[in-house]
């Protein structure tokens, strides 16, 4: 298990994931390089969340091949969990701890310093008042940002975000886009899902579309080249 310095972070070849006998992912192939910011687009039920969970090592690979950050998911998907940060529909926060305490707890586990915590909170625009509010009392956007701060503190190499823009107003969404772009500049790779058409195109150099559990289009809008 090695971290990849500039190289392929995700490689899927005809990956199939079965949830309760149903092929949620029915043969997806794609390749993502380090530092890329990729939007995963598709209607509900097309396998976007499942693809993220596969890359996070949370669901077993039924067919095909999948390698994430050098780890073969068929062999040892548990090992990839430490390298990857998944933000699903839930944020992984403790409701009774404050925003700062939640992030600080993560920092303690990974051996990061209190400075790293302050740093992360600042990068996410979390002010002092929010930082000392109980996570249970925060708004959806603030909870998202707390969870993202934890990802930064963890120095996760791959960020997998499931509909991170959902429930946020326009200003908050734009802020989120800035944060995600920043993250890629610091060396992380970001893959997020969305089911909005224009959002994907505007904010991201690369859009991958899923239909019926398979990848049906892969467009880099910067160069306008379909792959």
């Amino acid at each position: 298990m090695t971290s990849v310095a500039g190289g392929t972070v995700i490689r899927l070849a005809d990956a199939v994931v079965a949830l309760g006998g149903f092929p949620a992912l029915a043969g997806a192939s794609m390749s993502v390089e380090r530092g890329e910011l990729v939007a995963l687009r598709g209607a509900n039920g097309t396998g976007k969340s499942t693809l993220l969970r596969l890359c996070a090592g949370l669901v077993p690979l039924a067919r095909g091949a999948a390698t994430v950050l050098g780890v073969d998911l068929a062999d040892d998907r548990v090992a990839v969990r430490q390298l990857v940060g998944l933000l699903g529909h839930r944020n992984g926060l403790y409701a009774e701890l404050t925003c700062r305490e939640n992030v600080a707890f993560t920092a303690q586990l990974v051996g990061a310093s209190p400075n790293d915590v302050d740093d992360a909170l600042q990068r996410l625009g979390i002010d002092a008042r929010v930082a000392v509010t109980r996570a249970g009392a925060l708004s959806a956007g603030q909870r998202r940002r707390t969870a993202l701060a934890s990802l930064i503190v963890r120095r996760a190499q791959l960020w997998l975000l499931d509909e991170p823009h959902a429930g946020l107003d326009t200003a908050a969404r734009n802020e989120l886009d800035v944060i995600l772009r920043d993250a890629t500049r610091s060396g992380a790779t970001v893959l997020y899902t969305t089911h909005e058409v224009d959002r994907a195109g505007l904010a991201t150099p690369r859009t991958v579309t899923l239909t019926g559990g398979c990848i049906t289009s892969d467009v880099s809008s910067k160069f306008g080249v379909a792959q």
Binding site: V16, A18, G20, G21, F22, P23, A26, G27, P60, A62, R63, D75, T209, T211, G212, G213, C214, T216, S217
Partner: protein, 247 residues
């Protein structure tokens, strides 16, 4: 093993032998062996009770060993896990029979349905533990996750059951009357009774083997069905895509 049934020449032989020997045991137990001088005819329950108790513990050991192998070789094969599960199901059945026959025997001999002696009490705990184990097996649908979770539970049971037995023995030793309440302790066994008892053990072991083999084959088939079903579902889903759903 053809897909129509889970029988093979081996299981047919085992089944036939089991039937034969069980037939002999029944005849012998009821008609040929003598009644006990103290207990009378109620001693005949022993021919059912002792073998079922033996099988209950055999099932426990089988599940434990199979689970151990399942943990050690979990990347290779699920066969051990299937055997563990099958053995547990059959085992729970025999544990229940042990408890029922033991209870009836006690009732007939001493007028009470239950004694808190170590063997019965430990069997009761074994029964409850394995009911729990079977409940855990139903949690996961993916065979590999099922194997992983339930083998841990089975191995924990291996730790638990001796601890339970040991503490129950210690506990009952505080109550002086415990040593007397041994239902088969004061039955003198002559040659024929011993032989019938032994045949009963053999017969029940064969029944156990027959049931476990069939049960784990059933599990293999249903796991196979999931695999085949998945392949079909994948093909169907891809066909939907190329049939022109918007890209």
């Amino acid at each position: 093993m053809t897909v129509g049934s889970t029988g093979t020449p081996t299981t047919r032989v085992i089944g036939a032998l089991a039937l034969l020997i069980t037939g002999w045991v029944v005849v012998s137990a009821f008609f040929i062996t003598p009644a006990d001088s103290v207990q009378g005819d109620s001693v005949r329950i022993m021919y059912a009770h002792v073998p079922t108790a033996w099988i209950a513990y055999l099932a426990f050991v089988t599940t434990a060993i199979a689970s151990g192998f399942s943990v050690a070789r979990r990347h290779r094969t699920l066969g051990f896990d299937r055997v563990a599960g099958a053995s547990a199901e059959v085992g729970v059945l025999f544990m229940a029979m042990t408890l029922i026959t033991g209870s009836l025997w006690g009732r007939l001999t001493w007028g009470t349905f239950w004694q808190w002696d170590p063997r019965l009490t430990t069997t009761l705990f074994l029964f409850v533990t394995y009911v729990g184990y079977l409940a855990v097996r139903r949690i996961d649908t993916d065979p590999r996750q099922r194997a992983s979770r339930s083998s841990v539970i089975a191995l924990l049971a291996v730790l638990e059951i001796p601890l339970v037995h040991f503490s129950v023995v210690l506990w009952r030793s505080l109550h002086q009357e415990a040593s007397v309440l041994n239902t088969d302790g004061d039955v003198r066994l002559d040659g024929l009774m011993l032989f019938t008892l032994f045949s009963g053990v053999v017969a029940f072991t064969l029944i156990f083997a027959w049931l476990v083999i069939h049960r784990q084959r059933l599990t293999t088939l249903s796991d196979l069905e999931r695999v085949v079903g998945l392949d079909a579902a994948i093909i169907a889903r891809r066909a939907e895509n190329s049939a022109g759903v918007s890209a």
